[in-house]
Symmetry: C2
Subunit: 200 residues, 2 copies
Amino acid sequence: MTRRGQYAKGAAKREEILAVALDVVAEFGCRNASNREIANRVGLTQPGLMHYFGSREELYMAVLKARDERDTAAHWDGNANFQGFLDVIAHNTRVPGLVQLYVEFSAEASIGKHPAHEYFTERYQWARELSKQSVRAAQESGEFGPNVDEDLVADIIVATADGLQQQWLLDRSIDMVARLQAVWDGIAALSHLGESPVSS
Amino acid sequence: MTRRGQYAKGAAKREEILAVALDVVAEFGCRNASNREIANRVGLTQPGLMHYFGSREELYMAVLKARDERDTAAHWDGNANFQGFLDVIAHNTRVPGLVQLYVEFSAEASIGKHPAHEYFTERYQWARELSKQSVRAAQESGEFGPNVDEDLVADIIVATADGLQQQWLLDRSIDMVARLQAVWDGIAALSHLGESPVSS
DNA sequence: GTCTATAAAAGGATAGAC
DNA sequence: GTCTATCCTTTTATAGAC
């Protein structure tokens, strides 16, 4: 019981740290958030925090990985689709620290020698792949017609979503979901151009 | 002559600093670029650098403002148009430090209390406005048809460009110009839907 | 698992000489 | 306009006790 209890406690603390890190990032930004501040807010000292995450970069990567795992389980396990994508964006609206962290930390990590560089490179490939799955699903369901360059459309969806999040950080009144939906609908309309109007 | 000479020297040094800052940012990222490193590369000490720019944020804002002034003079003085926008993006491809700085520093500055927060808020409004001018120009020239929501399209163009730059930092093989052109052409096609095919 | 203590480094900024 | 010298602050990270 001691072992199980301690394990449970450790896991719970880990979760707590991940959540509080987002609060701190939302308030100070990723550059100016300190491990000390996060530690204090979860009732630890800074070295106490380091017991869970060996470095600043490890901590932030853990936050983002946890997010991806949740989103995968909830929205795109198996085959991704656009509605799940919108749901994730809508959810992000309620977690500003997550958007701040993603935009800021990924930008920081685009430098080749950064500890999180590989993580973001791979994550980006993954996001493109999921986006492509959504496009294919739309083609199969008939929502999209035949005039679609899968890779191009998939990349543009991802880019637009990233750019909208960047904009949203500066202007929270932007409706990311509505704008993304408009882009998607526009692509759908384009993809049917030239089709016979006779199709059911 | 002394006065004029010193003034010229100071101005030249300023320019040199702005250029070298981009090299350092390209190499270390904006978070890990230090004023000392920039100073050393232009043959100054760190306090020597502070003579020109009182703070880290001032320096980086100066870099971005100089960029905007150049681009304005070269590509969108008076009325902005999409080709000028593409030219700027194409140029950015040759200045990775500029893209890195823009993406990373603007993300950092989206926190409300950041010294550059107001600058980026205003710059973003300005970018949207320029984008809207491009859309209007396309409507007036007939490249775009009547089915256009100006604000929506303008914002989406800006978002896509920002997102593409983010992607490009991680994958330099991405052709930002081609992708943006594809988006633009798609919008053009959509904007003509429902028009009589009789129009010249 | 968490703390105290502390190292070690680096960053930004200032004072004052030249 | 630029340097030397220096300060102060902050940050991450480690060693070792409990």
